[in-house]
């Protein structure tokens, strides 16, 4: 019998960058096949090609032995083939009832003009019963728990005759007990011959629920293993992280000074455990972890963008009030947000106005000199080599790298002391990336300190003096970038016991 799904030699590039290289992936009927990989390894690209969200450049997809016409592949045709994706953010309509969501395509009208509420409830009840889900079809979706919404999505997919269900981090937002229920459900639908592609960072779960596991790294399939008692999690971690030689550390002659900044038991909304750390003068302290590890949330709480539940922040021995960004800035903090377009810049304002904004907010005087303001921004434009027509150009027309430099200039102009950088080089080309690294090094070279948050392991290994690993809101390790490697970092990111990783690495 033909395999349920065969993807062969899938190739995909974005803007000349090859994201997937000849990736093979297959799925048997009644199988749970886990898909693993670091951030940017190509997992979601592969999934989006299968679900019709992206087109592919080369390769072949067979569903149930039949070739899919990729030129006409779309989210609608994927659904028609029986490919359903359960996303982390749900596709349900919260204000409608469970029954309405299940029957959303036609409201059970059977082609007639009027909604048949009775038929709809009956149909919904059947769909729910089919997977043993005990939810009242008349309940509004917004009143359901997250785990129930997730299961409802599965019920809807099955009701639409899905044969292949893709689950993207299904346990990220649900409790231990709800995870057990989900696993029971997965076992149930597996027994009915449905194939499941299961994406997760939690290796323990994969050991429990998956039949096979495939690891992607840098857009390539680096191996498919059967999940059995012989499976070594250490080996999987190594496959995810790669064994390659460490990229060179950047040469930097900074002598680290005394303690410069300190975070005491900062409790971040949404995460249980408090975070504490300390950074020395002249130090680049790296914080890494996978997407969803709580790094950005920690940065926002540290800067006052979101209010921390408790905890203290000290810069150069003085306590900083981090209840609002404005008080955090007054205390010497600076913050470069992850989504620089949405929260870093005023797109419609000029380069000049953006650069001076923070300094202006920090100053006491109600008026300012337009001339001095222009001189200041002119200087930063030159020093940071920001490419623009002139200082009056709106920042919306700048490239990603130059936008990032504008934000950097903002904090330099405001004479910030401790700079928190959240993914400063994401989406930035190689040349500008080098410029940003140099700016960071210059910044700490003058006796200040940087917290560099990044999920790019190469970046933190090359740039930082000390490296913290965060997982589920906790710091799980403090590492010396000179003495660690990507597999070790990955093992802490994934929350695997470090001893087992060491054994595997030997």
């Amino acid at each position: 019998m033909a395999k349920l799904l065969e993807m062969t030699a899938i190739d995909k590039s974005f803007f000349g960058v090859r994201i997937l290289r000849k990736v093979d992936f297959d799925l048997e009927s009644g199988e749970v096949h886990a898909l693993l990989g670091a951030n940017g390894a190509g997992k979601s690209t592969l999934i989006k090609i299968l679900s019709g969200a992206y087109t592919l450049d080369a390769g072949r997809i067979l569903v149930g032995g039949e070739t899919v016409d990729m030129s006409r592949h779309s989210p609608e045709s994927a659904l028609a083939l029986g490919v359903a994706t359960i996303y982390q953010n749900f596709h349900l309509i919260p204000h409608l009832t469970v029954a309405e969501n299940i029957c959303l395509s036609d409201f059970s009208t059977g082609g007639k003009r009027w909604v048949n509420w009775g038929a709809m409830r009956k149909k919904a009840g059947k769909a729910l019963a089919a997977i043993g889900l005990d939810i009242d079809p008349g309940k509004k979706v917004r009143d359901l728990r997250v785990s129930q919404q997730q299961m409802l999505e599965i019920a809807i997919a099955l009701n639409a005759n899905a044969r292949i269900i893709i689950m993207d981090e299904p346990t990220a937002a649900i409790s231990q007990r709800e995870t057990e229920n989900l696993f029971d459900l997965i076992r149930g639908i597996r027994a009915r011959g449905v194939g499941i592609i299961y994406i997760s960072h939690r290796l323990e779960e994969i050991r429990r629920i998956a039949d096979r596991v495939t690891v992607l790294r840098d857009g390539m399939n680096v191996g498919t293993l059967a999940v059995d008692d012989n499976l070594s999690l250490g080996a999987v971690v190594e496959m995810i992280a790669g064994r390659e030689v460490k990229t060179g550390r950047r040469a930097r002659t900074t002598t680290l000074g005394d303690e410069f900044g300190r975070v005491e038991e900062l409790r971040v909304p949404g995460y249980g455990d408090p975070v504490a750390l300390s950074v020395r003068a002249g130090e680049i302290l790296g914080i890494t972890g996978l997407v969803g590890a709580g790094k950005s949330e920690f940065a926002r709480a540290l800067f006052g963008a979101d209010r921390a539940l408790s905890g203290g922040v000290y810069v150069e021995g003085r306590r900083v009030d981090v209840s609002t960004p404005s008080s955090a800035i007054a205390g010497g903090l600076g913050y470069l947000p992850e989504d620089r377009d949405a929260s870093g810049l005023c797109m419609g304002l000029s380069l000049k106005d953006n650069i001076s904004l923070t300094a202006l907010a920090k100053s006491r005087s109600p008026t300012f000199s337009v001339r001095r303001d222009a001189q200041l921004s002119g200087r930063f434009r030159k020093d940071l080599a920001i490419k623009s027509v002139n200082a009056n150009q709106q920042v919306r027309y700048l490239s990603g790298g130059n936008k990032q430099k504008v934000i950097f200039a903002k904090w330099l102009a405001a004479e910030c002391r401790l700079l928190v950088l959240d993914e400063p080089t994401i989406g930035i080309d190689v040349g500008a990336r080098e410029d940003i690294y140099r700016l960071i090094e210059d910044f700490v070279g003058r006796g200040r300190a940087v917290l560099l948050i990044s999920s790019d392991f190469d970046e933190v290994l090359a740039l930082t003096d000390r490296l913290l690993v965060m997982s589920r809101g906790r710091i799980t390790a403090e590492l010396d970038p000179d003495k660690t490697d990507k597999p070790e970092i990955m093992s802490y990111c994934l929350g695997v016991n470090d001893r087992s990783v060491r054994h595997a690495a030997v």
């Binding site: 960004p325 810049l345 005023c346 106005d353 907010a361 109600p366 337009v370 222009a374």
Partner: protein, 331 residues
Amino acid sequence: MEQDNESKPSLGLMALGALRHQVVSITIVMLLLWVILWWMSPYFLTVNNILEITLQASVTAIMAAGVSFVIYAGMIDLSVGSIFAMAAVGGGLAYHWTAKAEFGTGASVLASLAVTIAIGAAAGILNGLGIVVFRIPAFVVTLGMMGIARGIGFIICGGVPIYGLPKAYTEIGQGKLGPIPIPTVITLILFVAFYFVLRNTRFGRFTYAIGSNAEASRLSGIKVNFMIPMIFLICGACAALSSIIEAARLGTMQPAGGNGYELQAIGSVFIGGASISGGEGHIFGTLIGALLVTTIRNGLNIYGVSAFWQLVANGLIIIFAVAADQIRKRR
């Protein structure tokens, strides 16, 4: 070349650059309109009629100056017409109360002016607080205030218009400084002052920044929750000031006054080139916008077009001004 741009941010050049896009084009439109009207009626382009237009435009212009701040900050204020009436009536009552106490006419007039401005400012602050405390859109809060202020205006005077203002008061609207009407002078002073505020003060820069991206502004250390009530304070105070001009011109305060004025004020700001999404706009654009709205009204008056059609024209102007902005953005 680039060097020159940086090292010489000459005031004239920069002012020209800012004016180039919106204000100049709208000024040209207005001058064209004047020429057309002059061609149709030689009476139109006389010094007297132009001064008359600036006088008529002053009420709209002053109200629009305040609304400009709100729109530059990316919000809207629908309540200015109602605040206009409430503040005027409050000031009128204050005049008659203090006049009874016989502190002298001058003192009573000053008290009346102070009360009017204070009522406008207070209503504005309440608008702003409503927005930041309850986190609801300005559109909703000011729509509510539109009803509240209108109602309070009627309640405090029992629905009866206030008359009997002394010459010291009416002179504000009817007097002249040489050949120039006093309201025109007040309008000019206000706009020059606001030009300075928007360009050379933190408050002005932050107004644009909030309009461009409120979250980025907050993360840059701007106290957005303080700024918004202050922006609405200016807007409310300007509505009150414009009501003083009108009361002085007409010699009466009407609880039903200012009806539909928000339409003209908001229209003036958009005609002046402000962006509906905030962050852009030039205060002199608003001034020209107010003149243009008034010119159209004045022209329609000369040709005997009914006031009802003038309302229609006002509504159309707003829609077309914003549509022009959207088309400019799409380009």
